[in-house]
Symmetry: D3
Subunit: 326 residues, 6 copies
Amino acid sequence: MDLFVRDIYPLPPGAPFEGYFVVEHVEIRKHRTGEPFLRLILSDKTGTFTALWWKPPKDADLTIFKKGDVVFVSGHVEYFQGNLQPKLNVIRHAEREEFDPEKFITKTRFPIDEQFLKLLEFVESVQNPPLRTLLESFFYDDNFVEKFNKAPAGKTIHHASIGGLLEHTLGVAEICETIAKRFKSIDRDLLLTAALLHDIGKVEEYAVDIAITRTDKGILLGHLYIGCEMIATKIREIPNFPEELKTKLIHCILSHHGEYEHGSPKKPKTLEAVALAYADALDSRVKGFEEHIERELGDKKGWTRRHFAFEVPIFFDGEFKYEEEE
Amino acid sequence: MDLFVRDIYPLPPGAPFEGYFVVEHVEIRKHRTGEPFLRLILSDKTGTFTALWWKPPKDADLTIFKKGDVVFVSGHVEYFQGNLQPKLNVIRHAEREEFDPEKFITKTRFPIDEQFLKLLEFVESVQNPPLRTLLESFFYDDNFVEKFNKAPAGKTIHHASIGGLLEHTLGVAEICETIAKRFKSIDRDLLLTAALLHDIGKVEEYAVDIAITRTDKGILLGHLYIGCEMIATKIREIPNFPEELKTKLIHCILSHHGEYEHGSPKKPKTLEAVALAYADALDSRVKGFEEHIERELGDKKGWTRRHFAFEVPIFFDGEFKYEEEE
Amino acid sequence: MDLFVRDIYPLPPGAPFEGYFVVEHVEIRKHRTGEPFLRLILSDKTGTFTALWWKPPKDADLTIFKKGDVVFVSGHVEYFQGNLQPKLNVIRHAEREEFDPEKFITKTRFPIDEQFLKLLEFVESVQNPPLRTLLESFFYDDNFVEKFNKAPAGKTIHHASIGGLLEHTLGVAEICETIAKRFKSIDRDLLLTAALLHDIGKVEEYAVDIAITRTDKGILLGHLYIGCEMIATKIREIPNFPEELKTKLIHCILSHHGEYEHGSPKKPKTLEAVALAYADALDSRVKGFEEHIERELGDKKGWTRRHFAFEVPIFFDGEFKYEEEE
Amino acid sequence: MDLFVRDIYPLPPGAPFEGYFVVEHVEIRKHRTGEPFLRLILSDKTGTFTALWWKPPKDADLTIFKKGDVVFVSGHVEYFQGNLQPKLNVIRHAEREEFDPEKFITKTRFPIDEQFLKLLEFVESVQNPPLRTLLESFFYDDNFVEKFNKAPAGKTIHHASIGGLLEHTLGVAEICETIAKRFKSIDRDLLLTAALLHDIGKVEEYAVDIAITRTDKGILLGHLYIGCEMIATKIREIPNFPEELKTKLIHCILSHHGEYEHGSPKKPKTLEAVALAYADALDSRVKGFEEHIERELGDKKGWTRRHFAFEVPIFFDGEFKYEEEE
Amino acid sequence: MDLFVRDIYPLPPGAPFEGYFVVEHVEIRKHRTGEPFLRLILSDKTGTFTALWWKPPKDADLTIFKKGDVVFVSGHVEYFQGNLQPKLNVIRHAEREEFDPEKFITKTRFPIDEQFLKLLEFVESVQNPPLRTLLESFFYDDNFVEKFNKAPAGKTIHHASIGGLLEHTLGVAEICETIAKRFKSIDRDLLLTAALLHDIGKVEEYAVDIAITRTDKGILLGHLYIGCEMIATKIREIPNFPEELKTKLIHCILSHHGEYEHGSPKKPKTLEAVALAYADALDSRVKGFEEHIERELGDKKGWTRRHFAFEVPIFFDGEFKYEEEE
Amino acid sequence: MDLFVRDIYPLPPGAPFEGYFVVEHVEIRKHRTGEPFLRLILSDKTGTFTALWWKPPKDADLTIFKKGDVVFVSGHVEYFQGNLQPKLNVIRHAEREEFDPEKFITKTRFPIDEQFLKLLEFVESVQNPPLRTLLESFFYDDNFVEKFNKAPAGKTIHHASIGGLLEHTLGVAEICETIAKRFKSIDRDLLLTAALLHDIGKVEEYAVDIAITRTDKGILLGHLYIGCEMIATKIREIPNFPEELKTKLIHCILSHHGEYEHGSPKKPKTLEAVALAYADALDSRVKGFEEHIERELGDKKGWTRRHFAFEVPIFFDGEFKYEEEE
């Protein structure tokens, strides 16, 4: 039976276990006799432990295991200096069909299908024809939607989960709707279109496999540029899409990080662009705080450690309630 | 009849006019004969013109008119080098009862009474007893409410109008409500209380008379500190107000500018504080953009000049619609 | 005969003159009689003067002249308070064919054809087939080349002249060639391709007419993004252009301003990108200093005023020699 | 006998020892048999060592020891891999009366009583009646004085010791006195009052127990705000305290960190405020350098490591002499 | 009789006047007849006025008057549009012996001789022989002392007066003495030497003539570097000056602006350097505030305009008392 | 035979080895018996390992080995927990003549002699007599040249190798030559002289022994100042060296880091200074990237870790080719 790391810890010494884990670190070491053995750090999303492949067969190729591989292992529980450090009997690469990737990465707790229906309601509320066509060219395209619904909105800072991009996109759209009601001079259709598309570049910036990683392309170009190129390509296929509208929409996407130092090559210079930038900041910052609290405190109260990006420790003495839809 | 500046301009040379104006600038000059005369720049909220008190009575004290005074003048339209520059027959200080201060300062276009009722609904939605008591100690106090409903939320940057503070407070509360619905871990009552009180220090930071000015106290202490002291004083009169709750509330107020360089002595360190700071930024920035567009472009489209605080020019090619309540 | 402003100044009062000028400022004023007249500020690249259309025909529409128009005027030299301020007999809009636009904007002093041949030598030195094809798709396209050879590389900061983009592109390519010789690990073909294409977005960022202006699109999107979209579009038409090569090339363009605060959404992260960014900085900064010296000092020596972008005054006690090709 | 950590190190293996220590870290581990044992890191102000409670009684509750507790332990000296790592026979919580808190925290080397007398001389030199009354309301209040004289002026950066607040307050007052003698336009009584009260918020920002820690309130509100609220509360009880004087005094306190990024919501805007801010910087920076040298170099000369806040290493080749009063 | 500008203003139209003034601005203009005349702006330290040389002799060379020249003029008081604008009968260059330079530049109000004696007391208090020798090589050198005692410590920011350098040097030395008494680990002789020499580069950075100007050398190299080179040169002539002591002294001078952005190539890294940097900041900032108040408010109370370097307006409601020595 | 660390690793357990190594860390530990032994970390430029002097003679003084010492050791290969950790038979201080310092520090791969000849060609190309004399006073001085040719241009950031200063100086000179050809207004001789001398202060800033270290003087004064003082001293010995030329040259050196925050007390304010600053940045940044790639990736491709100073990870998928001269 495939155990989680957190389920192995309570087992008594000597108990057998098996499971699929990601290799976090691997090292070939030598016994004093000069015979090699393998020292591994293995993990899933619930924790980490060290394991030793103490007596590999003479002809085993120890160099085939690499950081990031998923392996199947079996062994017996054992402690060294008080730490779990079993010796393994078996270790082999796992085939992709054998294990559930969700063992390794968290997933949004919102139901994805329901959320996507809500997003489609926003799409269908857009009246401006070229904008509506553009939105449909993305959100009625099954290939795109499949990638979009799985994508995270971040690796560590906020919405770092499968479905995180969908969750964040909805959060931003809700705030933009609130703003558009109060400020009538805003072009509501443009703002909502920008909100729904603002982070689509993340489907190519991040790769979600056993972990969320940033692709080479993602690091070199970033989701702002990638998203704009995706939009520009689609627009080229829509007859008579107004040039000025394209410029204003792409401006919203390019500038939505608000400041140069956050990677926007332009600062927001239209009502819609400034509304989008601040709505994005609001949703992602609050979510980032919440994830940090959850990660750091679990059920406890008090102070987290300093957040690596927001540069403050966070105080929380409430109850951690995950958002549920009424 | 009291004319606006914009109504004097179309009058033909020689036409009589009269009205109340603010003295923007005043200078005593001399005729070549050595006789003194007065050169004034006069304004109301619609514009500015130069006037000369060309032949004051021998015994007139020319030194009594000062920048900021409201004066009553009468004269005939006259041009010099193509500019309106009438010579005045009469100039005297105006009594406060004679003129309507709204000739000199703009007012929120939202109906203040209706807006205040909405605000009271927010007050009454707060369930937490000490927070509710605290809110009532402000918003059920007629003296305070009178000042609050007249106060601006700024001098130039955003909501620079009579009633601007009320308008902005509601805008922030609406966004906070949206956020509190999505993020259930937030203490909704604390967040709404903080939203409703976050800028109350502005009733002492700004003086609204003929123009919006900042008081000495406002410049030296700022509305963050002033508001906190106001809240701390009220809390001292509420029996058993929990010390921790006071700390968390005051932290929200102190940190709501988000960054040190915006004048917050603390960065937000709780979910409620971070939500408030970003909601405040969102409402005030969008409003600030809108006011800048209105001031700069009027009915035209295109680019404004660079905004002195946001440091960008703003592009607007939509229709300027003022928010109306459906 | 079409006179330059600098040629009108030395004429004696009463001398007739005529010429084509740009309207910098226009105002309708009224005589004391109530009759309207026009006050204009007119300029060409050699200077500025004020003119009055003192007695327009009764049925003339004074509202048709706007900032930026080119007008033909004739009149006689006249001074007011020591300033040149002629009254005009004739003023009318000029047709585009009547005047030479170079009366209004400077032009690179390098011969454009010769420079472009040098640029083609760089193109032909590129061995990598897809990069070579890409370069040819731009520089063998007559429509593009016509725009490229006229474009400036800036409005005020550096290479603010017709042909300035070509001049700057060559300057950067020369430095990159020097660097590629010393650092053999650099992919020389990639670096040169990036150098030749790094600023092509400027053909859409700037409009050169009577003056260099930035287009709406230029202000909202910037030449970094525009250039990348142009390249991505061309690449889509080149069969089998390697995806990784595209990513590395676009990374060079996106990051060539070097720092976030200079409008790059990504910092340089490859050898080629860092070399391009610093080569671009070197050529544009030295040129910007030189243009500032020329503009400020003419033939004199000593200190310029503080440069508005580089934030220093510049000291020059040499001889100003324009680059000549041996 | 209660030993300091530094006194245990020289003991031979096998020697018995006992003492009171703070728990820095605690972990429950398991023997290979599955039996639990406790691994602790213990400290006092002279050092740190690891200890094992190797064989706790079967019925012992190992979860009762927590970071920050003071415990009494006894055992015998033992080394593991060259590090002191004794196994303990006894471990129990210590009662507050049993140990001397000064074992755990340093104390100003100035005699507190003498220093406080000097401070009272400054108090008594203030002639302005309301300011004098205000100062007396603090410094003639035994409860306040007891807390004030024990408080540190920092946790790590400067004056991080019992009595550090008193020492720093005097240092700042001395410099202010020097300044007030040279600059006669300064309101000397206001400046001295501000100097004496500028950091009183630290009596609530820091808790001094076994270590100097920052309280929740301290982290959320900071000593600038806390001090101002303390002063405002006292002033409310002083009849006819001039409002303007209160504003100027509180401005000095609020702005004494000088810059926004150091946590002042206002920059100094009066002569007194600017003098206080720079006097505070001078005393605390020099003291911070000195403490860093003492901590890092002891009796040695040369370079310290980079100071975590001042961001430089410090060079010292003098003799470390603690301030003595002649 | 040589009149100050402030003494001409109250004269009746037609009254004769004469005096020495600096040319701030000069322009050759033409009468309508084509005859040239000269328009000048003239000033001394009390004010500014416009004058016209209306009818220069036919053969006069109008190009010989330049900005910065001191001229002798005579004429009769005349007003144009209410402004003083006399026509001159006589204008000629003034010889250096004719006028008192103090008509054009302010001077420290401290008696220079007395101040210099105080400075010598500091010199003589230094016990360390090589440092004492070094100090004497400057302050016993009459040529140097003459320049030193006249030099300003700034052009606009602080101590911008003849004798300002001496005044500031003493102010810093007094604070350093206070600090050295409290912090015994400081090398008092090194600190005082550094204090006395820290700004000597200003004798070459500024030129005091009719106005305080910065020399080319001053702008290109700065007083930090110039002062260090002066010290290094003197030290080369002192036998056996310890190399380490030289390094520590020059480090104090190089780093005394405290931060890179204030032009120090090194941050302070010794106790003496950090004490000097903060003492310098304290004295110069308070003095700069005071000068700004004096310049802006004169005898009035309230707010100055924003200080161009400190970036705040300053509030002053005290009495402006210049420092007097008891 | 003196082995490199990388040559010991492949030896079988039990094999004898010997060699010279630098002591990186040393600790005296105790056996459980109380007997002391020595634990050392030893290194050369190819790697690092731990060694134990397990049984030192009773009378051995274990305190004589210090960080930075070069020692001769011999022992047999042994592993502990899979790590190389031999016990030593012999350890003693090595005499300077015994070992080759290049075992410990890398050296430019360019042939130094050839490079220096190229540098002399640049020297001889300078026509301006005083500049030529100045250059010769350095580069024809054997003592100076010996130090110059060995000096590194950095400790870690770029050109951190013996001969690195020479290599970097040439790289900068080549770029300056390219720039001087394009921009004829530049004083080519001044620019080349500044290029050749810009970093000479590094011969005193760094000490190259067993490792590159920064001297006390280097940390306290920096190579900008040190170099300028060296130049000023030489110039004092050259009769009639023009004062203005000296000022302009020293300005180039002082300002060549370009920005205050990079340690330049002045920003570049001449054409030559700005060209030098950007040429220096270009050469050092590209070299720094290349060294980081080499250090991090060796023969591999992909991403380096984040560079500690440039703050980006670097992507490299080319071939690492060291520059060779054709």
